[in-house]
């Protein structure tokens, strides 16, 4: 993309090549679009995922989560104990609820995975077995797509499904990529340049291309996508591993606390009240089951939220890194500004009026189909009420279309010649005809350049002679809402750096207008790389987007490198995320999703640990109030009986998992704010809430239980 930028934004050239496709993709940016919204959660998913949850009871699977493995062992143990004394309803009730606790945990994971499965099925349809037309020494041969090797050349013509990932080495074709992007409009793929990458499973709509295969079968983009959305390729991320270690050590602490309690209780004369079943129940209540049960669901759901936004993260590590990003590198064009410069003002030279300039500018731009040309027509209409004239309206007019060589467009009509174009070209045209260039024309043009804009001269040859009429001020238009967005990012502690091929003067003007913290002007890929390394040397994590082959090293170096799907396969290989929408603004959302993932983990961990306080107040008096009547004072919830108190705590412990599944999948609500405010808010909700909620929940369950005869 850097090359595009340099090419397009040479201030003296309006000869822009056709813009890279993503510049035309509406960014869909609304002031509120950045809020991380949750995916929908349908309670029906709990039912449909139930069989999967049962299947996950396999101990070899469960052992990956130490907390839940302890619950599984507890479930088996209590069941065996209940079998020994089949007449004891309490043992059965505890055993049943421990099994439910285990199943609920699996259910959370199954639901999270289930949401990816639907998407994977759609992708599988695209990955039907294709027949490739391979070019060999002896001409074309038909082989199954699975037999292709890296470096093979294959031919695809209209109607063919592309058999594997590769680069176009010959020809141009329109390709339907809806199978992976969901976008139905076809895209152009051509040999050379940054639009040569094609993805296996997509369909050629027209023309003929020769593709050089770059990926082994089974490792293609679509295969990786399927693995990703299904969670099959999911590995625990570093932070998840660290949290698991902390949870495991808490589990060990509580295991010790409960096991050693038995001899203490025997000495206190509470042997009968601390049966194995009661101790297992206490242990399960104390170990952090809530977060243990939901931890993997949170991770899967985080990836899923990215998928819902059409972003594929190649590793969970990248999603975590996104939350930590402290420097965002944003390309100017397409991300901060609209894809093209637009006419902002008509400045007349002495002796003419702005309206005259507008009229001439509009006339001369009718034959200019570049976005800049269109914007001149639009400005003339909006500001000076000049109705757009159509080329057909003016008889005998001779239209001079814009070309990269002349860098001018215009019209010859009724003996009047009007031209507009790059300053040098227009001055040359005027002088060639013996005309006069107004003294202030140069001055105005320079002023515009210095302000970061691009001047275009408007000249005419008519009965008044050949002369310059005025200057059109083209400028970059900063997308609406970007300044607010950057302010938010600053409050989140993220520095934004605008990358542009513009000269420093222009870059500074746009940077100030957009409100970014810093800019890198006249950026070459090497500059970009150096900037990333410099930031990283200072301990910062850097995120960037890119699509060109020359972006690949920087994408690989960045901690979060988001490749545009329209980009080259080199860029897609180098990045750790791919944005199927090819919308560079999405980087901001990716950061928010990363943060949200971490916040959800922290919030549920806090909640889980805070919950234990209430459980002690339920279970300790239940166990020991007979041996030490004074301890009944700890029964501040006034629970009906020891059995109902312990059972209520166990039931609460199980139900809270199900209750929090939607939160785990949706993620904790995230709004950009300072770390301090965020901590205060989340501590209030999940810390204090975690302390208070179980008191209410356990009491409520106990009230219901005490209605059952024989329990209360």
């Amino acid at each position: 993309m850097t090359t595009d930028v340099t090419k397009q934004e040479n201030p003296m050239s309006t000869a822009s090549a056709a813009p890279a496709p993503h510049h035309d993709v509406p960014t869909g940016h609304k002031p509120d679009a950045g809020r991380v919204a949750g995916g929908l959660f349908d309670p029906g998913q709990l039912v449909t995922s139930f069989p999967d949850a049962i299947r996950k009871l396999n101990p070899r699977v469960m052992v990956k989560s130490p907390v839940m493995f302890v619950v599984l062992v507890g479930s088996v143990a209590t069941t065996l104990l209940a079998c020994k004394d089949p007449g004891d309803w309490f043992g059965w009730a505890i055993a049943a609820w421990l099994w439910l606790t285990t199943i609920f945990a699996n259910l959370a994971e199954a639901v999270a995975e289930g949401r990816g499965k639907a998407q994977a099925d759609t992708l599988r349809k695209a990955k039907t077995d294709t027949v490739a037309r391979r070019l060999g020494d002896s001409g074309e041969e038909r082989v199954p797509g699975t037999e292709l090797r890296i470096g093979d050349l294959v031919v695809c013509e209209a109607g063919d499904i592309i058999p594997g990932d590769g680069d176009v080495v010959e020809g141009v074709a329109s390709v339907d990529e809806s199978a992976i992007t969901g976008e139905s409009a076809p895209v152009i793929r051509e040999s050379g340049g940054d639009r040569s990458a094609v993805t296996g499973g997509t369909k050629v709509l027209s023309d003929r291309i020769v593709i050089k295969i770059t990926t082994k079968p089974g490792e293609t983009f679509i295969d990786r996508m399927i693995n990703l959305v299904e969670g099959a390729a999911r590995q625990k991320t570093p932070n998840e591993i660290a949290l698991n270690i902390l949870l495991a050590s808490l589990t060990i602490v509580f295991l010790i606390a409960v096991v050693t309690l038995k001899p203490f209780a025997v000495h206190a004369g509470a042997d009968a009240q601390t049966s194995m079943i009661v101790l297992v129940a206490l242990l399960v209540c104390l170990i952090p089951t809530t977060i243990g049960a939901l931890l993997s669901a949170i991770g899967i759901a985080g990836m899923d939220r990215l998928v819902q936004r059409n972003v594929l993260a190649m590793s969970g590590r990248a999603v975590e890194a996104a939350g930590d990003v402290s420097t965002l590198l944003l390309d100017k064009t397409g991300t901060i500004t609209l894809g093209n410069r637009q006419a902002a003002e008509f400045v007349p030279v002495k002796g003419t009026t702005a309206a005259e300039v507008a009229d001439a500018a509009q006339l001369s731009s009718l034959a200019d189909e570049t976005p800049e040309g269109r914007s001149i027509v639009v400005l003339a209409k909006e500001k000076y009420g000049l109705r757009e004239r159509h080329q057909g309206e003016l008889a005998h007019a001779e239209w001079i279309a814009f070309t990269a060589q002349t860098r001018m467009s215009g019209v010859d009509v009724d003996g009047r010649k009007v031209r507009k174009g790059a300053t040098a070209s227009v001055i040359a045209w005027v002088k060639e005809r013996g005309g006069r260039v107004a003294d202030d024309a140069d001055e105005i043009a320079n002023d515009i350049s210095e302000a970061g804009g691009t001047p275009l001269l408007v000249a005419a040859e008519d009965d008044k002679g050949v002369r310059v009429l005025g200057v059109i001020h083209l400028k970059d238009v900063v997308k609406e809402g970007m300044r607010e967005r950057f302010d938010e990012l600053r409050r989140m502690g993220i520095k934004t750096v605008m990358i542009t091929g513009d000269n420093p003067l222009t870059a500074r003007a746009i940077a100030e207008e957009a409100g970014v913290d810093d800019f890198l002007a006249e950026a070459t890929p090497e500059d970009k790389m150096a900037l990333i390394k410099r930031e990283q040397a200072g301990g910062k994590l850097v995120a960037m987007t890119g699509d060109g082959t020359n972006d690949a090293p920087a994408l690989a170096q960045a901690d979060v490198g988001v490749a545009m799907n329209t980009g080259t396969s080199a860029a897609k290989e180098a990045g750790n995320m791919v944005d199927l929408d090819s919308n560079p603004t999405k980087l901001i959302e990716i950061v928010e999703i990363g943060k949200q993932l971490l916040i959800t983990r922290g919030a549920l961990t806090t909640f889980s640990i805070a919950n234990d306080v209430a459980k002690y107040f339920a279970i300790i008096p239940a166990m020991f109030a007979i041996a030490h009547p004074g301890l009944d004072k700890l029964n501040i919830m006034g629970l009906a009986s020891p059995e109902s108190a312990i059972l209520s705590a166990v039931i609460f412990n199980a139900l809270v998992i199900v209750a929090l599944v939607p939160l785990a999948l949706r993620g904790v609500r995230y709004r950009p704010m300072s770390a301090d405010r965020m901590l205060r808010r989340n501590l209030g909700i999940y810390g204090l809430g975690g302390l208070v909620a179980p008191f209410l929940g356990i009491k409520l369950i106990d009230l219901l239980l005490s209605l059952i005869p024989g329990v209360g």
Binding site: L243, L246, I252, A268, G323, G602, F624, H628, G630, L679
Partner: protein
């Protein structure tokens, strides 16, 4: 003046004195451990022990230094006690039995100073002054050295080097502990504590009969006993003994000495990591817990019921009348919240809940403000745990002082917090489950259980105070408490030093608005909550059967 008001005024005087000493001492200690200059006496010591004080050590080397020094210390102290009967200057005392000698050696080297012997009836001048008092200095200096190594881990980056253990050890003794001890001993002597090498005096009593009074270098040992958060008394009555702690002023002065270095180290920490405010946040956490515990203790001890309580104005049983409830409570809280273990009153005689407060103080892990050095590193480990959970809640992978808390760091921190609860609970459970140890209990029921729970809590947390009532001089208790003390001291040090090494290698993460502010009161509050909840959850069942059952019974 009401006893309560007296307590409040003493508390205020204590806080004022600590506040005055905080800056100069904290800054002095930061200079001591950052300086590259060696004193002449230090150079001489380095030459004698063959150490190069300028060689930077990575964490394994630093740890080897700590362990090698401590092993030698244990062996030396064990040998000294076993040979006491043959040594001159032993006041005629015999050699100590193997199990008790092991226990005592482990106790003084681990900075615990649990005493299963009666000082005045077992230990002569050589062991007291040449063995125990020496360990009072060096075991404290080892603690500070390990804390400083951890602080360097935070302060340094892109290196694994943590400084030089021998230099840190020697400087801690020569430049910090010795000078303060000299001044402190003079103050104590001036106020009536004894300092001599005389023998045992036979003294007649007013009511007839006679009593034996030992002489000894008491004041000098008393000062380092408090300053180094050691706690091993010259006499069995410890700081309740008038020769150790003659009056109200010396009592307050001794509490001041106990708290002086642990609190001031937070300033040293702030200085060395380049942000005094980070030090204040840690200080705030320690001070909040300490002051909170004093208030709780006053609440339980002043508000007793029954005629004896009312007559005495509170729970006076086991407390010295010359100190009263207010100052005794401050002493009890300070000694159990630091790993000191000196006592001026008998924790066993506190109200049920009051006894529970002394136990909970130790169970927090001796971190508020904790032992010299060990309090700071223990607190920093808790800060890492708190940052890990809270850091996630601000949407970043956790970092503390610019260092990432990732898998390796959390693994080491998690191992650290496992050690003492495992030791306390497992040893207590074993003692309760076996037949013999239980016979050492003087009381039955909840109070008897508290005696055993207190013993292992005190040992594993390197506190050293006893609940009284438990006959700990048995082979079982000497051995198991000895093991608890050694494991409770040195296993966590392994994790702390490994953590320091891992932190020192990192590249620091720059602060942004998205960084968790660990120097703000909000974080202090969070840290207090984390400490109380984690310790509370771990020990609640055990406490319920001991002090809570007793305290809530009435």
């Amino acid at each position: 003046m009401s006893p309560f008001l007296a307590g409040v005024l003493q508390m205020l005087a204590l806080i004022a004195a600590l506040a005055l000493a905080y800056r100069p001492l904290g800054d002095h200690m930061a200079r001591v451990y950052s300086s590259d200059r060696h004193l002449r006496v230090e150079k001489w010591i380095y030459k004698t022990i063959g150490a190069n004080p300028d060689a930077e050590m990575r964490w394994p080397a630093y740890l080897r230094g700590v362990l090698a020094f401590s092993v030698v210390s244990v062996l030396f102290l064990y040998g000294l006690q076993r040979l006491q009967g043959a040594l001159p200057g032993s006041l005629g005392f015999v050699s100590i039995d193997p199990d008790q000698a092991f226990n005592t050696a482990a106790s003084f080297v681990s900075n615990t100073n649990w005493q299963s012997y009666y000082g005045e009836q077992a230990m002569g001048h050589v062991v007291q002054t040449g063995g125990l008092a020496v360990q009072n200095f060096v075991s404290a200096a080892v603690g500070i050295a390990v804390a400083v190594a951890l602080v360097r881990g935070f302060a340094r980056s892109r290196t694994g080097e943590l400084g030089n253990f021998w230099a840190d050890l020697v400087r801690g003794v020569v430049r910090i502990l010795l000078p303060i001890s000299v001044i402190g001993a003079i103050v104590l002597v001036a106020c009536g504590a004894i300092q001599n090498f005389t023998g045992i005096h036979e003294v007649g009593q007013f009511m007839g009969g006679s009593q034996q009074w030992n002489g000894g270098a008491v004041a000098s040992q008393e000062v380092i006993k408090e300053l180094g958060t050691n706690g091993g008394g010259y006499f069995n009555a410890n700081s309740a003994h008038p020769f150790e702690n003659p009056n109200g002023f010396t009592n307050l002065f001794e509490i001041f000495l106990i708290l002086l270095i642990p609190f001031s180290l937070t300033r040293t920490f702030g200085r060395m990591v380049g942000s005094l405010r980070q030090g204040y946040a840690i200080l705030g956490t320690m001070a909040t817990i300490w002051a909170g515990f004093v208030l709780l203790m006053w609440a339980t001890e002043f508000a007793g019921h029954g005629p004896a309580f009312e007559a005495a104005g509170g729970a006076m049983e086991g407390k010295e009348t010359r100190f009263g409830i207010g100052a005794s409570s401050i002493f009890a809280v300070s000694t159990t919240l630091t790993s000191t273990g000196a006592v001026n009153s008998f924790h066993s005689s506190y109200t049920g809940l009051g006894g529970g407060i002394t136990m909970l103080g130790m169970m927090l892990g001796e971190i508020a403000p904790g032992g010299v050095g060990s309090g700071l590193y223990g607190m920093l480990i808790m800060a890492i745990i708190a940052v890990f959970i809270a850091g996630l809640m601000v949407g970043r992978t956790p970092e503390y002082l610019g260092k990432k808390i990732s898998t390796r760091e959390i693994k080491l921190a998690a191992c650290y917090i496992l050690v003492t609860p495992a030791l306390v609970l497992c040893f207590t459970a074993a003692a309760m489950a076996l037949d013999t140890p239980v016979t050492s209990m003087t009381n039955s029921g909840a109070h008897g259980f508290s005696e055993v729970l207190y013993a292992y809590t005190s040992g594993a947390n390197n506190n050293g105070s006893a609940f009284a009532g438990l006959n700990a001089d048995t082979q079982w208790f000497n051995t198991t408490i000895g093991l608890a003390m050694l494991l409770g001291r040195f296993v966590p040090m392994v994790f702390v030093l490994a953590l320091a090494g891992s932190l020192a290698e990192q590249t620091p993460v720059p602060r942004t608005a998205g960084t968790l502010r660990t120097e703000k009161p909000l974080f202090t509050g969070l840290l207090v909550g984390t400490i109380v909840i984690i310790a509370g959850l771990t020990y609640f069942p055990a406490l319920a059967l001991g002090p809570l059952a007793e305290g809530l019974a009435s």
